[in-house]
Amino acid sequence: MAFKKVIRSKKIYPLLAALMLFGTTVMAQDATTAVAQGTTTPGSPDSMANSAMWTGVLYYTLLFLVGCVCLAIVGRILKVYDITQKMQGKKGINWNGFMGIICLVFLIAGMYGAFWSIFVQGSMKLPVAASAHGGEIDTMFNVTTILTLIVFVITQILLFGFAFVYRGSEKRKGYYLPHNNTIEKLWTIIPAIVLTVLVVFGFFTWQKVMNSDEQKGDLNIDVTGHQFKWELRYPGPDGKLGTVNYTLSSPLNVLGIDFKDRYSLDDLQADTLVLPVNTPVRLNIHAQDVIHSVFMPHFRVQLNAVPGLPTFFRFTPTITTAQMRVETDNPNFEFLLYCNKICGGIHYNMQKVVRVVSQAEYQDWISHQKPYLTPQLKQQLKLASEKSVPAAASRLALNN
C-alpha cells in the first residue's frame, strides 16, 4: 500500500524533476571542478577519476529510476483507463488478445531477426575447410543445418501461430483431444528415421576422421602444451621422433627428450607449425602440466592434450596459406593453432601460427631449423654422462 501511495502521490513528479535537475547540475559541477582541478593540480588524477566515476554511477542509477517511474506511470494510466472503461460498462483492456497479437508480432520479427543473423553473422563463419577430411565434416554440417532449420521454422511458427490463433475468448471452448495414436506414432518414427540417417552418416565419418594409425609416409610432429605455450618437435633426417621422458625435463631440455634414444639426436625445434601441403601429418599431442586442447579450426582438427595420455590426430592439409589468403581476400591471413581447454589465466592467448606451404618450400624451411640438442645441452649431457656411463658419451660424440 505504501508503495502505491508513493506512485499515486502528486508530489513525486516535482520531486523527480528536481532530482533530475540536481543530477545534471552535479554532473556539470563535477565536470567543471574536474577540469579546474586538472588545470590547477594535475597531481590528483585519483580523486578526479573517483568523482567522475561516482557521478557516472549516480547518472545511470538516476536514469534507471526515471525509467522505472515512467513505467509505473504508464502502468497507472493503463489501470485508470481499464477502470473507466469498466465503469462505462465496456470491457477493460483485453490483455489476452493483446498478448496473442504480440506473440504473432514476435514470431514475424523473430523469424526476420533469426534469418538476418544466419545470413549476416553466419557468413562470418570459418572459411572452407583446409584439410582432406574437413570437406566431409562441412557437408555433414550443411545437411544438419538444413534439416534443423526446417524443423526450427515449422515448430516456432506452430508454437507462436497457435498461441495467436487460439488466444482465449469467452465464446470458445478448448477442443477435448487427449491423444491420437496415429499422429503420435508418426512423429516418433519420422524423427527416429531422420536421426538414424544422421547417426549412420556421422558414425562412419567419425571413424574415418579419427583413424590415426600411423601409415608409411606420414610426417610425425610432436605438439606439447604447457602453461601457456606450445612446443613443436620435428623429426630430423631420419624421419623419426625420439622418445620423451617427463622426468628428464630441465630448463635446457624442456620437453624431457631422452637423448639416449638414437632417434632423438637429430630432432628439430620450430617456432611455427609449417606443414607441407597434401602430405598426411600425424600430430602427437602431449601436455606437461594441465589439460590443453589442440584446436585448428581451419583444418577441422581438435584433440585434447592430456598429461600422461598421448593423443594423435592424423590429417592432410590441402590448401596452402598463400591460396587461403587469396580465397579469404585477406593478405594477412594465417592458419592458427590455439588452446581450447581452460588451462589457466593466460588460456586466451596460447597460440601458434600454422603455415601450409609447398613441398619445396617445406624442404627449404626444415633445413634451416635448429636441433633440440643445442651445444649447451650437449655440454651438460656430456658432463652428466661422463660421470655415469662413459660409453654413451662416446656414441654421442661419434654421431655429431
Binding site: 490483455w95 553473422q121 497457435f162 556421422g202 581450447n340 589457466g344
Partner: protein, 628 residues
C-alpha cells in the same frame, strides 16, 4: 497395503499438526520449519538470491568481453584486487565464469528448481500431509544453505574462488600452483559441493518415498500430474548419479590434499617435475560427466513437467498424449545415463566409444521431439489464457526447440570436432538448459505463487518481465552460435590477441547490452515478487480453474495441508473442456458418478465395473431421449 500406510501416516500427522499449533514459534515456523510448504519457500527464496548473484557475476564478465581495453574504476572500487586498475584480472575472469556456472547449474536450477517445486507440489498434488520425512527435508534445506554460504565465502579468500571452470577438470583443479583459484578457493568449492550433494540426496530420497508411498486414495501412478512424474524421475536421476560425483570429488580431495595420484600422471609444472604417477585425468572426466549429463536432465525435467501442467491448464485442454509424455520422460531419464561420453568426444577417449556415445545421444533426441510435438498439439485448438505463467511456459518450449536442435550438431561426434568448447556450445546449453529451465521455473513461480504466498502476482509486471527477458535471452544467445562457427573458444578472457576474433567485438558489445537489458528486467520480477508477497491481491481458492489436488487445500496454510480427511482422487488431472461438462474443468476429486453427461468410454479403460455403469447409463439416456 499402501492405502493402509497412507491412512496411518495421515493420522499420525494430524496429531502432530495439533501439537504444532500449540507451540508455533517464529523459529519453528519460519527458520527450522519442517513443513514442506515453508521449506519450498526457503528453497525458492535462496534459489532466487543465488540466481541474482549468478546473474550479476555474468554481467561482470560480459563487461570484460565487450570492453576488453577499457577501464572501469567502479570495478576496482567494488572488487579491489580482483580488478586492478578497473579491469578484471584474467584469473578472476575465470573465477567469475566458474562460479557463475556452478551457481546456476547446481544452486539455482537443481536446488532452486527441484527443491522448490518438489517440496511444494509433491505432497500437495499426490495428496499427502507432508514429506515422508519432514526432518530430513529440513536438513536438506540447511545443507543447501550451508553449501551456498561456503560457495560464496570463497570470494573472500586471498587467492579468489575456484577458477578451473564449473567442470573442475584436474590437473588444473588438483594442482594448487596451476592457477590461483586452485588453492583455497578450490577447497571451498569441493567442500561446498559435498554439502550440496548431501542436501540433494536427502531431498531426492524424500521425494521418491513420498511419491511411492504416500499418495492419497485413488491416486494411482497414472493419475499423477506430469509435474509429479517429472519431479519423481528427476529425484531418481539425482539419487543414482550424485553419489558418483561424490566419489569423483572425494578422489580429487585426496589428490589435492593427501598426495595420491588418481587423476595425475607425468606432470611437469612450471619446470618442476611432480611426483605423481599412474593416474588419469580422463577418469575424472568420466566420473564427472556420469553425473554431469544426468544433471542437465535433472535441470530440464522439472521445467518440462511444470510447463506441461501450465500449458494444459491455460490452454483449457488436456495435455496431448499424457502416456507418451510420461514414457518420453522415462525414456529421457534412462537414456541420460548412457550419453555422458558426448562431452568427451575430443578428450582422447577411444574413438570407438565416441561413436557409441553419438548413437545413444542422438536417440535421446526422439523422446525430446515427442515432448515438443505434444506441447504444440496441446496448444492446438485450445482456448489459450495468457497468464504470465503461460507465457513463460510457451517461452520454455521455444527455447527448448531452439537449443535442442543445436544439440543434434553437438551430439554428432564428427561435427563436435570443430564445435567442441566453442561459443556454439555456450549458445546451445544456455538456450536449452539455461533459459528453458529458468523459464520453466519462472512459469512455476507465477503459476503457484498464490499457493505459496496466498496472494497473486501482478500480471502486467509479469508481462513486461516475460517479454524483455524472452527477447533479451534470444538477443544474448542467438549470435553466439555464429561466433562458435567461426571457431571462437569459450572461456577466453579477451579476443584481442587474435585478429580473426577481434571482428566479433562489436557483436560482443551488442550481447553485453542485451544482457544488461535482460538483467534490468529481472528487477521487475524481484519488485513484483516481494511486493506481491506482502501487498498483492488476495487469491481465491482455485485462481486458474485447475484440476489438480493442490487447489483443493485451504488457502490458509496448515501443517498437514488439508483439514479433516485428505480428498480422494477419481480421475486423471487433465479433464479440461470435456464435452458435456458444465464447466471447462473437472477437478480430480469429482467422481465419475457426478459427471455422467461428460463421461467417455475411454475413462473406464481399466475399470470394468465403471464401464458397465457407463453403458447402462448411456442405454437409459438414449431410451429417455427416444421417449421424449
Amino acid at each position: 497395503m499402501s492405502t493402509l500406510a497412507v491412512h496411518d501416516h495421515g493420522l499420525v500427522h494430524h496429531e502432530e499438526g495439533h501439537e504444532h499449533h500449540h507451540k508455533a514459534t517464529f523459529l519453528n515456523t519460519y527458520v527450522f520449519s519442517q513443513d514442506h510448504k515453508m521449506i519450498a519457500k526457503q528453497f525458492l527464496i535462496t534459489g532466487i538470491t543465488m540466481a541474482f548473484i549468478g546473474m550479476c557475476l555474468s554481467l561482470l564478465f560480459r563487461i570484460q568481453l565487450a570492453y576488453p581495453d577499457k577501464t572501469f574504476p567502479l570495478l576496482e572500487t567494488l572488487l579491489g584486487r580482483f580488478a586492478p586498475g578497473g579491469r578484471l584480472s584474467p584469473d578472476f575472469y575465470m573465477s567469475l565464469v566458474t562460479i557463475h556456472g556452478t551457481i546456476m547449474v547446481f544452486f539455482v536450477l537443481t536446488a532452486g528448481l527441484s527443491g522448490t517445486f518438489a517440496n511444494l507440489l509433491i505432497p500437495l498434488q499426490v495428496g499427502a500431509r507432508d514429506m515422508a520425512s519432514p526432518f530430513v527435508n529440513m536438513l536438506s534445506y540447511w545443507f543447501f544453505l550451508a553449501a551456498s554460504i561456503i560457495m560464496l565465502s570463497s570470494f573472500f579468500v586471498q587467492k579468489g574462488p575456484a577458477s578451473g571452470g564449473w567442470t573442475v577438470y584436474p590437473p588444473l583443479s588438483a594442482l594448487p600452483k596451476a592457477m590461483p583459484g586452485s588453492a583455497e578457493g578450490m577447497t571451498l568449492w569441493l567442500v561446498s559441493m559435498v554439502c550440496f550433494i548431501g542436501s540433494s540426496l536427502m531431498g531426492g530420497i524424500n521425494y521418491i518415498s513420498t511419491v511411492l508411498n504416500m499418495r492419497t486414495k485413488g491416486m494411482d501412478l497414472w493419475k499423477m500430474p506430469l509435474t509429479v512424474w517429472a519431479l519423481f524421475l528427476t529425484a531418481v536421476l539425482g539419487v543414482l548419479s550424485f553419489p558418483v560425483l561424490v566419489a569423483g570429488v572425494v578422489l580429487l580431495i585426496f589428490d589435492r590434499s593427501f598426495g595420491t595420484s588418481f587423476y595425475l600422471s607425468d606432470i611437469v609444472l612450471n619446470g618442476t617435475v611432480q611426483p605423481f604417477e599412474g593416474g588419469s585425468p580422463i577418469l575424472f572426466e568420466h566420473l564427472f560427466w556420469f553425473l554431469g549429463h544426468p544433471e542437465v536432465y535433472i535441470i530440464i525435467m522439472p521445467a518440462m513437467g511444470i510447463s506441461s501442467e501450465v500449458l494444459a491448464v491455460n490452454s483449457r485442454k488436456p495435455i496431448f498424449g499424457y502416456h507418451a509424455m510420461v514414457y518420453s520422460l522415462i525414456g529421457i531419464a534412462v537414456l541420460s545415463f548412457i550419453v555422458w561420453g558426448h562431452h568427451m568426444f575430443v578428450t582422447g577417449m577411444n574413438p570407438f566409444l565416441g561413436g557409441v556415445f553419438m548413437i545413444t545421444t542422438l536417440i535421446i533426441a526422439v523422446p525430446s521431439a515427442v515432448k515438443t510435438f505434444n506441447w504444440l498439439a496441446t496448444l492446438w485448438r485450445g482456448n489459450i489464457r495468457f497468464t504470465p505463467g503461460m507465457l513463460f511456459a510457451i517461452g520454455m518450449v521455444s527455447f527448448f526447440i531452439s537449443g535442442g536442435l543445436t544439440g543434434i550438431f553437438l551430439g554428432n561426434s564428427a561435427l563436435d570436432i570443430t564445435l567442441h568448447d566453442t561459443y556454439f556450445v555456450v549458445a546451445h546449453f544456455h538456450l536449452v538448459m539455461g533459459s528453458a529451465a529458468i523459464f520453466g521455473m519462472l512459469a512455476g513461480v507465477y503459476h503457484w505463487f498464490p499457493k505459496m504466498f496466498r496472494r497473486m502476482m501482478d500480471e502486467r509486471l509479469g508481462y513486461l518481465h516475460f517479454w524483455i527477458t524472452f527477447i533479451g535471452a534470444y538477443l544474448v544467445f542467438f549470435p553466439m552460435h555464429f561466433m562458435g562457427l567461426d571457431g571462437v573458444p569459450r572461456r577466453y578472457y579477451a579476443f584481442t590477441e587474435f585478429p580473426s576474433m577481434a571482428r566479433w567485438l562489436s557483436v560482443n558489445v551488442f550481447i553485453t547490452w542485451a544482457a544488461f537489458m535482460t538483467g534490468a528486467a529481472q528487477i521487475a520480477f524481484i519488485v513484483n515478487f516481494i511486493y506481491s508477497i506482502f501487498w498483492g491481491k488476495k487469491t481465491i481458492q482455485n485462481p486458474w480453474q485447475s484440476n489438480t489436488l493442490e487447489w483443493t487445500a485451504p488457502i490458509e496454510h496448515h501443517h498437514g495441508n488439508w483439514i479433516g480427511e485428505i480428498p480422494t482422487v477419481y480421475r486423471w488431472p487433465y479433464d479440461y473442456s470435456k464435452p458435456g461438462a458444465d464447466e471447462d474443468f473437472i477437478p480430480q476429486t469429482v467422481p465419475f458418478s457426478q459427471t455422467m453427461s461428460s463421461n467417455l468410454p475411454h475413462d473406464f479403460e481399466d475399470n470394468p465395473e465403471g464401464l458397465e455403469e457407463y453403458n447402462k447409463w448411456t442405454v437409459t439416456n438414449k431410451a429417455n431421449e427416444q421417449v421424449k
